[in-house]
């Protein structure tokens, strides 16, 4: 594939970087990233991945744009209220970069559709807002051997880690099981600061770009936490892959995907519980 003059200019700041260069930009254009959740994490990540020239971006979200989303989900605008989030996100990404092919999946991820969704993608970005989805994404990616970026945000705090199945611990090696229903408040109950969500979503996009281009060190085996109130980042070295992990261990007990129950307050009309 040869670059057009326009592409050379569009991606000039990448191509100039020794660590990315011509080869890295070609890898980005040939890559496929799936973003699950077009919310506080997925919105900034999708914008930066589109701008970076990730050739195919899948976006999965069943919701429509709500006024309370716009405080942080910067891929959607006021004019998009009521529109399916995946369509609003697609329009924003295509407006930034016509090089990008956007695939939309207007559905909630479940144990029955996730394997089909992740199959064609090189890297998965977890931008969901609940534990059942996070464990489902982890288990599915481990079973399918797909690398992914996990992240979570609440109030002024965020965290992320990158999982490459077989190379380091998975989310379940570290967190074992979802917390009891209603034990942890959701963003809806607890609040979240938009710019902090942006920081973490952008870090996820960076991990995707570094994975695709083979640049630098990933957060494999580390958990990065960020506290926006104290402006402190902590990189926590995680224990090695747990041989007793229920999904990625030597004798996995989870061999089928699980749909954990959602916290009751997160139930929305029309959504299967």
């Amino acid at each position: 594939m040869a670059f057009t003059n326009e592409q050379m200019e569009r991606y000039s700041r990448h191509i100039i970087l020794k660590e990315i260069g011509v080869k890295g930009q070609k890898k980005l254009l040939a890559s496929k990233v799936l973003i699950i959740g077009a919310g506080g994490l997925g919105a900034p990540a999708a914008l930066y991945l589109a701008a970076a020239g990730v050739g195919t971006i899948g976006i999965a979200d069943a919701d429509a744009v709500d006024l309370s989303n716009l405080q942080r989900q910067i891929i959607h605008s006021t004019a998009d209220l009521g529109k399916p989030k995946v369509l609003s996100a697609q329009e924003s990404m295509e407006a930034i970069n016509p090089d990008v092919q956007v695939n939309t999946y207007q559905e909630f991820i479940t144990s029955s559709n996730i394997m089909d969704l992740i199959r064609d993608y090189d890297f998965i970005l977890d931008g969901t807002d609940n534990f059942p989805a996070k464990f489902l994404i982890n288990d599915a990616c481990v079973m399918a051997g797909k690398p992914f970026s996990h992240a979570g945000i609440i109030r002024f705090k965020g965290q992320l880690m990158t999982v490459i199945p077989g190379e380091g611990p998975c989310y379940r090696c570290v967190f074992k099981n979802p917390p009891p229903k209603d034990a942890v408040p959701t963003c809806r109950q607890a609040g979240v600061i938009g710019a902090m969500a942006g920081v973490i979503g952008c870090l996820q996009a960076l991990e995707a770009i570094k994975y695709i281009t083979g640049t630098g060190e990933l957060l494999v085996g580390s958990l990065l936490t960020f506290d926006a109130l104290t402006m402190e980042f902590h990189k926590i070295r995680l224990p090695k892959k747990d041989p007793d992990c229920a999904v990625c261990g030597e004798h996995p007990t989870i061999t089928k995907l699980i749909d954990y129950e959602q916290a009751a307050c997160d139930w929305k009309p029309g959504e299967k519980v």
């Binding site: 040869a2 670059f3 003059n5 050379m8 200019e9 991606y11 000039s12 700041r13 191509i15 100039i16 020794k18 260069g21 011509v22 080869k23």
Partner: protein
């Protein structure tokens, strides 16, 4: 008499401005095999001040800078392999 350098490919970057000058040269170098030689035609001024330095920073070997006496230069570069 100076030894003739065999040029494998040429690229003209006089039609673009910084930083695409270097980007276009970098893209052209990418197409070559290690050890092959590229001649890059560039404008006097900013390109001739910056492009050779950037190419040297990437590890390639600058063989010659020829003044074309028309406000342009030809930079002759041998492509280096990746470390």
């Amino acid at each position: 008499m100076a030894e003739e350098i065999k040029v494998d490919d040429t690229v003209d970057i006089t039609d673009v401005v910084c930083p695409v000058t270097f980007v276009k040269a970098k893209v052209a170098l990418e197409e070559l095999e290690d050890g092959q030689v590229l001649s890059i035609r560039m404008n006097d001024g900013e390109p001739v001040q910056n492009v050779p330095r950037s190419i040297k920073d990437e590890g390639h070997q600058i063989l010659k800078l020829l003044d074309n006496q028309d406000g342009t230069y030809n930079l002759i570069v041998r492509k280096a392999g990746e470390e």
